[in-house]
Amino acid sequence: MAGLEDLYREIILDHYRSPRNRGELPTPPAHKTEGFNPLCGDEVVVYLDVDPATDTVRDIKIAGQGCSISQASTSMMSGAVKGKTVDEARRLIRAFKALMSIHESKLEGEGDGADLAADLEGVRLGDLEALQGVVKFPVRIKCATLAWNTLQQGLDEIAE
């Protein structure tokens, strides 16, 4: 089962079994955003507490339910952006999507993802790179990106 071990790296299963930052934050001051994967029904809820003075993600909590990939990705995302500035968080989003969308864009037959590499430049994804195995399983990409799309939507809503 070579393929499967590519997808389900140990660190992913670890985040799945022991998700970080689970819980809720009072709204306000925190902002709550829900994300759905319309295909499989996975749900992610992101509570974001952004300090307006420093534009920093002061705290983040996660709720919802889903498969190991979506849950692990959500857990990793929460750890990666906590304490970061909004700009840094947005850079992470772009980098992570670039990591994933190399395949996603191929599925849709548009471009070859070459220029997406630019987005990856200079961003340290760390543990998140464990999720790279997902690109070999196209239908699971949406599981991995759900948390990040929800984060992006949350940041956009806060900025408004």
Binding site: G41, G66, C67, S68
Partner: protein, 414 residues
């Protein structure tokens, strides 16, 4: 007494080319027919022959191949009509799929007849296809949607049926749940609806492929189903409706074929069923649909049902015995009130992850909400795995499922 010849599954499997596909050394174990079934050789051959020898647009050509195409297309309609016990071919409207059939009723009949304050009755086990069209209408017209709930053993709770139907204009209900497998008491529900002067729409998408259907016996008003779940091609389905109803309904889509005359200041409509078939239809898919019902009729729908009851019993037993503590089945246990869609979950393992591991073993099952999110919320789960059986499945397929599940459980337990 009807004598039912049991299905010769070994022979049937050979009718479906895809089932002998090799997946990196593993045979394809296809257990997702509730989503869409595979197609037998005879259906593929009928469609291929149409394109290679008889293809032309229908209804409008004087020349021979246009006549042949029209005869094949209308012949398919007659076959489908007979297959579900319609009184006449005029009662079969070809649509893209069951979803469009239900939307046709919602746009044409319901928008002409339902008004603010009216009520529609649905159930908690409906597919989105039988929920969203009514929610769209409800939001537009201020119509109330009432829900029939479930019993703890996954049947419809009909104790308050009469109360729920009080003053309702439509009951729209699935004949068989695509998640739970539950077969609902259609005739009883139709009678109750009629007793309250409500019409009854039956979503028979999961029923027609598996159980002998007689729409006239049901006494229903509308019945929706899709070819692709019953050995037919994707791209075509049918709305059956009583002829008087179809005749009284306003048209839905406008264009060629559905008209009698068009002037600058307006149009008049064609006879039913063509009144509801605007534009060039899925001509060859219709012919494939006809070949699909021929195939099923040849197997015998009673034999199909017998086979699936036996196989479902075998599967329910095998799953329960193999995973007594960790696997939960969502749906009735009594195979006389259920079809072959078996939903289940492992403790602490998401359905999606189960599917993924099964795929490595060539076993295809569906994971997700099965287009029934309201039901998922009732069950309190985000998703289930679902194995579903059809004429080409046998005990060996169930065994392969159980073996793969054991490996999946082990994989996530480490």
């Amino acid at each position: 007494m009807t004598i039912t010849t049991p299905l010769d599954v070994e022979r049937i499997k050979r009718d479906f080319a895809i089932l002998s596909r090799d997946l990196d050394g593993k045979r394809l174990v296809f257990l997702d027919s509730a989503a869409s079934s595979q197609k037998p050789e005879s259906v593929l051959a009928a469609m291929d022959d149409m394109y290679r020898r008889h293809y032309a647009n229908v209804h409008r050509g004087v020349y021979r191949i246009a006549e042949e195409a029209t005869a094949a297309f209308e012949g398919a309609r007659a076959k489908v009509a007979r297959f579900v016990g319609a009184k006449s071919s005029a009662e079969i409207v070809f649509v893209r799929n069951a979803t469009e059939a239900i939307n046709l009723v919602a746009y044409s009949w319901a928008r002409a007849n339902l008004h603010a304050g009216d009520a529609i009755v649905l159930t908690h086990m409906e597919h989105h296809a039988n929920v969203v069209p009514w929610q769209m209408l409800a939001a537009e017209r201020d119509i109330e949607i009432r829900w029939i709930p479930l019993t703890p053993d996954y049947m419809l709770d009909l104790t308050k049926l009469d109360e729920t139907l009080e003053g309702a204009r439509l009951l729209s209900v699935s004949a068989m749940s695509n998640v739970l497998g539950t077969i609902n008491p259609v005739r009883q529900m139709v009678d109750a609806a009629h007793a309250h002067d409500a019409l009854a729409l039956i979503d028979a998408c999961q029923f027609v492929p598996h159980v002998r259907t007689d729409v006239t016996e049901w006494d229903a008003d509308f019945v929706a189903f899709s070819a692709h779940k019953m050995c037919g091609p994707s791209g075509i389905g049918a709305l059956w409706a009583r002829r008087e109803l179809l005749e009284a309904m306003p048209p839905f889509l406008g264009g060629g074929e559905m008209i009698r005359d068009v002037r600058l200041d307006g149009f008049t409509t064609n006879d039913v069923p063509w009144k509801f078939e605007a534009g060039t239809p899925p001509i060859v898919d219709a012919v494939g649909f006809g070949a699909a019902v021929d195939y099923l009729q040849c197997l015998g729908m009673d034999a199909v049902r017998d086979h699936e009851m036996r196989l479902t019993r075998y599967a329910l037993d095998a799953l329960t015995e193999s995973f007594p503590d960790t696997l939960r089945i969502y749906g009735p246990r009594d195979v006389s009130v259920r079809g072959g869609a078996v939903s289940f979950l492992f403790d602490g393992i998401h359905a999606h992850d189960i599917s993924q591991v099964l795929d490595e073993h060539g076993v295809c099952v569906r994971a997700g909400h099965h287009c029934a999110k309201p039901l998922m919320r009732q069950l309190g789960v985000p998703a289930t795995s679902r194995a579903s059986f059809y004429v080409y499945n046998d005990e060996a397929d169930v065994d392969a499922l159980v073996a793969a599940l054991a490996m999946a459980e082990q994989f996530f337990a480490h």
